[in-house]
Amino acid sequence: MSPKFEELTVGQEIGTRSIEVTRQDLVKYAGASGDFNPIHWNEAFATSVELPGVIAHGMFTMGSAVQLVSDWAGDPAAVVDYQTRFTKPVLVADTTGTDEAGAVIDVTGVVGALDAEAGTVRIDLTVVAAGQKVLMKSQAVVKVS
């Protein structure tokens, strides 16, 4: 069921999602996106450029966080605008060979604004990993009927 404009109010929560991330997920994202920067898969390289360890692609975090919105909207094409600032890196521990996640990203979506003329709703995302906000001003504009 896609959301109805008249049933939405500012401040309303659209849902939450917990995303488990492993080093393998970063390798998959590197292949799918074409971003092979070794800071996303090689520990020695990451620490040599003064990072605390392997970090997730900012675009992996941005791309996976918006899935909450795509599913809420019903049709992913309804997401007409999506922006974010990358404020903190998501450090992904090496848990290869175990069932453990290397990091967990928690996403919450709230109705931030309604534009009756454009028929759009702005969803503001709060995206947290290891107790820190990793995205800021993460906003998706969704066309609703």
């Binding site: 675009m59 791309g63 918006v66 899935q67 600032r85």
Partner: protein, 153 residues
């Protein structure tokens, strides 16, 4: 080497064509942990009114980062890729990207700002789909800021 301040205002014309395939949409969708059937099942996507599989909202990054590579790899730019941090990103979709699209991106360097020993560079990619006559239809505008860290930053 420091960042060339003359980069501001520079444009790189559309180069290679990016062919959007169903399998790339499925692969990218899985990689961002998307499960919406519009990315995977053609029948479902068509029932929603799309001509084919729909790309996830951040799919255009593939085309935008290829366009950005022209700048990063430009020997005149002075950008050391290993010192690049992604600072912000925005996608504005004029219409959804679907399988079968033939995309080109035009890159514009909108801002270059010195920050400490490094620089913040803002780029914009105008992404178009080509039709059978190679006429362009506006599909998406992406903007991105990268921070190039200076020594010791």
């Amino acid at each position: 080497m420091s960042i060339n301040p003359d980069l501001q205002g520079r444009s790189y014309p559309a180069a290679e064509v990016y062919d959007v395939s169903r399998e790339k949409i499925r692969e990218f969708a899985k990689a961002v942990k998307a499960s919406n059937p519009a990315h995977f099942d053609v029948e479902t996507a068509r029932a929603m009114g799309h001509s084919d599989l729909v790309a996830p909202p951040t799919f255009a990054i593939i085309v935008a980062q290829r366009a950005d590579a022209q700048l990063v790899e430009d020997p005149e730019s002075g950008i050391d890729f290993s010192r690049v941090v992604h600072a912000d990103q925005r996608f504005t979709h004029h219409r959804a990207i679907v399988a079968g699209d033939r995309l080109v991106a035009e890159l514009h360097v909108d801002g270059v700002r010195a920050m400490g020993g490094g620089a913040m560079i803002t780029t914009r990619s105008e992404i178009f789909a080509l039709d059978g006559n190679d006429d362009r239809e506006k599909v998406a505008t992406t903007t991105s800021s990268i921070l190039v860290r200076g020594e010791g930053q």
